[in-house]
Structure formats: C-alpha cells, structure tokens
Amino acid sequence: MNRPPSVNEGARAPGAPDAAATAQALAAWPAIDATWCMRWFRGDAIRYLGFLIRLRAMLEALLPELHQAGQAGERATLQRLAHEIQGAAANLGAVHVAAAAATLNAGPLDSLDATTLESRVAALSEAIDAFGRGLAAVEAGQPPAAG
C-alpha cells in the first residue's frame, strides 16, 4: 500500500518562483487549465507546479518510447502510451497534451493509415515539447508562450 504523497520537494527547491508569481504565470499559460486545476490543490500554486514538474518528467521518460513505437508502427504500444499520457495530463489540466493524446487514443489504431498515425504521434510529441518549454518558462518566472 502506498502512502499519500508529501509536499513535492521540487516545487519548493531554492530558486523556485514564489507562490504568487507561479500562480500568475500558470494562469496566463494557455496550454493548461490552471483555474480549474488549482481547486485540486486548494489554490496552492507551488504544489500544483510540483505535480506539473512530475508530469513533465513522466512525459519526457515516455517520449523515446513514443517515438520508437511511432516509427515501428506498434499501434498497441502507442495506444497504451496515449492512454497513460491522456489520463495524467487531463487530471493536471495539461489540456493540449491531453487533447493530443486523446486524438491518438481515439478509436482502434489498426484502421489508421501510417501517415495519419505518424502525424498524430508527431502532434503529441510536439504538445509534450511545448509543455516542457512552457513549464520551463513558468519555473523561470516568465510567462509561457502560447501553444
């Protein structure tokens, strides 16, 4: 049995943005639904940021597998990865990533032609990259770029 998490240490590391600036930056980031998601953290932007950092680590860990499965046309693996990414991203308000994953996860992939499949994998990959860039900007105390 796992224990509930403690406060994410990464979100409170020295040099991290303060709570007000983080909340402002998150609210201005169009790739996430911060307003809706902050309720999950009772307005604690630092805690929310910690979870977003965990999400980024997770996505970055899955990205090589996603690329490899896309190149090999391993549809079952792609669907499993898309499912996993969709769930985690949606819960943390990463709407662009969640939407791209949902597109890849929608319907049986066996019926998709390779080109469509590749374009969906590429869209998801790009959404993940954009999420990483946006999060880096928030961590730096700067407003994330759109997309």
Partner: protein, 387 residues
C-alpha cells in the same frame, strides 16, 4: 483516532494516484495501490468504505478487479467508483456490468468526485446496515420459529395429560414431550405413598435411581446440575434429564440460549405433570366420594325397608296374639274352666304377646343405631380426608 472514512485508490499512474490522494486526504483516510491485484492482496481491503478504481491498468483491469472483489463475501459490498479517460456510454455500461456503483471520467471535477464518494460511502454503509438488519431479522425469525415449535411441544403435552388417568401414563407423556426437545431422561411420580419411575428409553439405571432419590431428598432445590445431567425436583415429581449440562459458553451464545429455553420448557413440563398429578388425586377422591354417597343412599333405603318390615312384623305379631286371645275367650265356655283358670290363660297370652313385641322392639334398636351411623357418615363423605 482517525474518524475519516477510509477509501482506497487503485491507479497504475503514480501522478494520478498522488493527485487524488493529496486532494482527498483532508476528507478521507486515503490508501493508494498501484494495481488491482495489490488491492485484492491487501488484507484490510474490506475495511475501506469505498474503492476508486482506474479502469485501464496493466495486469488486472479495473473491471476484472471489481468482479474479483464482488466474488469475495467480505468485500462484495464495498462501493466501487470507476475512473477512466473514456466517457463513452458503452464504457460506463461495462463498468456497471462489472459491479461498479459509479463511473467518473478524467479529468475529474473535485467537488463532483467528493460528492460521489460521499454518497457512495453512505449508500454502502446503509446497504451493509440493511444487510446486517436483514440477517438479524432472519436469525430472530428462526429463533422465533424454534420457540414456537417448542411452545407447541409444551402445549401438546398439556393437552395430552388431560387424558392421563394414572401416574404411569402421565410420566410417559412427560418423557415423550422431552423427546420433542431432543432430550431424554427418567421421571419419578409419587402419589398416596406409592411411586412409579419411568424412563424415556431403556431402563432406569441404578445410578439414575439414586440420583432421583437424591433429588427427592431436596424438594426445594427445583433445578440441580448433576454432572452432565440436569435434575428437576418439584415435590412429588422428580425428573432427571440426561446430557443437559448447564454450562455457559460465551463462544456459543446460541447454544446457551437454546439450553436456557430447553431448561425453561422442561420446567414447564414438570410443573404441568405436578399439577396433573394433584388433579388426578382430586379426581380419585371425587370418585370415592360418589361411591360413598351411593352406598349411604342404598343403606338408607335398606334401613327404610327394614323399618317398614319391622312395623309389619309388629302389627302381624300383635294381630296373632289378639286372635289367640279371642280364640281362647271363645273356647272358655266350652272348656268348663274356672274363672281363675281362664284368667291365667289370658295372662299367658298377653305376656307372650308382650315378649314377642319386645323382641321386635329390640330389633329396631339396631336399626336406630344404624341410622345414627349413617347420619355420622354423610358429612364425612361430603368432605373426605385425604389418605
């Protein structure tokens, strides 16, 4: 002490697991699991008030986990809310078919999720309470049915003993009623100085006979434990019930209840036998009284006949001597007797008449004595002293 309702979250994705745990942790005692199998393997899974179960997990899916949970008697009623990225109606239906109570899709609305969890926990609690109440009512109904059956045995015994005319039949009826409770034993009844001892099965052993003696010597003891047997001592009725040891066992309260009822019911049978035994003595007295009253009446009638006969004899005897005197007076002139001789003869006749009537009168003295005896007997017969 943690008084928050315990819930379990099973999701293979650590971020989602932790997100839910941190968001729900201030309202619920959250326990997290990384797989459906981990939930099933957890010994305390039946203690949680609700399970939040991700549908798409490697290994056992959420649906398979729920079905496995429902197959376990101690966890079958734990409310399950499925969590999935799929919002399709077909997916939801699969969730309900697997035994889920509700279905939420990612991303969740926190307030909605908390409301669903709270309702499901309360519904589950009420369901368990209802099941518990139903179980208790079922048990109570069974006990009531048993008690009704036992009361039926006692009532049947009370009905049967009204037809018993002797102690032997009464003891047999009591022992048959014991059999109605799955018990057996031996009984001794005493009436007017004599006793009869009967056994439900087999003969009364020497040991049992001595135990009955022991019980009779303690008429106020009422109920006495004698080794593995139970003795009842109610004056003229003593009963030894075999293998009804009166021991309380906290580990078998139902057995204790059944034994307690058996003891009470057997006591009712013994009391019924005692009452019937006394009633039989009263009936015996009543029968003797009727016989005595009939005898007295017959004797009075015979006495009356005797008095009538005595009166007739008295009259006849007097008439005989009167005729004899008249015959003498008629013959005197022809016999040529002197006046003195005639007077002597007449005196002889009169003296014999007096003696004869005296004999008859003495006979009536016996009648009067008999009349006095009857007068003394009648009040005694109306209120006979018990032998």
């Amino acid at each position: 002490m943690n008084d928050r309702p315990a819930i379990a979250i099973a999701d293979d994705e650590a971020i989602t697991r932790d997100l839910l745990a941190q968001a729900l942790g201030d309202r619920f005692d959250v326990r997290t699991f990384a797989s459906g199998q981990a939930v099933l393997d957890h010994r305390g899974a039946h203690d949680v008030g609700l399970l939040l179960l991700d549908v798409g997990m490697p290994g056992l899916s959420g649906y398979e986990t729920c079905r496995a949970l429902r197959a376990r008697p101690d966890q079958a009623d734990v409310p399950v809310i499925f969590v999935s990225v799929h919002a399709l109606t077909e997916e939801r239906l699969l969730g309900y078919a697997a035994g889920g109570n509700d279905y939420v899709t990612k991303p969740f609305d926190l307030d909605e999720l908390i409301a669903k969890i709270t309702v499901a926990i309360e519904t589950g609690r009420r369901t368990r309470q209802l099941a518990l109440d139903a179980q208790r009512m079922g048990e109570a109904a069974l006990v009531t049915a048993e008690m009704m059956g036992e009361v039926g045995v006692v009532l049947e015994f009370q009905r049967a003993i009204t037809g018993c005319r002797d102690p032997e039949a009464l003891a047999d009826a009591a022992l048959e009623a014991l059999g109605g409770f799955g018990l057996d034993g031996c009984m001794r009844l005493r009436q007017r100085g004599s006793s009869c001892t009967r056994a439900a099965s087999g003969a009364v052993s020497a040991l049992e006979s001595s135990l009955l003696d022991h019980l009779e010597a303690r008429p106020d003891a009422r109920i006495v434990t004698l080794g593995t047997n139970l003795g009842f001592s109610y004056g003229d009725v003593t009963l030894l019930v075999r293998s009804l040891a009166w021991t309380r066992s906290p580990t078998a309260p139902q057995t204790v209840d059944a034994m307690s009822r058996a003891r009470d019911n057997v006591a009712l049978i013994v009391e019924g036998a005692l009452a019937r035994l006394k009633a039989m003595a009263d009936e015996d007295d009543a029968r003797h009284l009727v016989v005595a009253q009939r005898l007295i009446a017959a004797t009075r009638a015979a006495l009356h006949d005797l008095e009538e006969a005595a009166r007739v004899v008295h009259g006849d005897l007097d008439a005989v001597f009167e005729t004899a005197r008249e015959d003498f007076e008629y013959l005197f002139p022809q016999l040529g007797l002197t006046s003195e001789q005639e007077e002597r003869l007449t005196e002889i006749v009169e003296r014999q008449r007096a003696r004869g009537l005296d004999v008859v009168a003495r006979g009536r003295l016996a009648e009067r004595r008999l009349q006095q005896l009857l007068d003394q007997m009648e009040p005694a017969a109306l209120s006979p002293a018990r032998a």
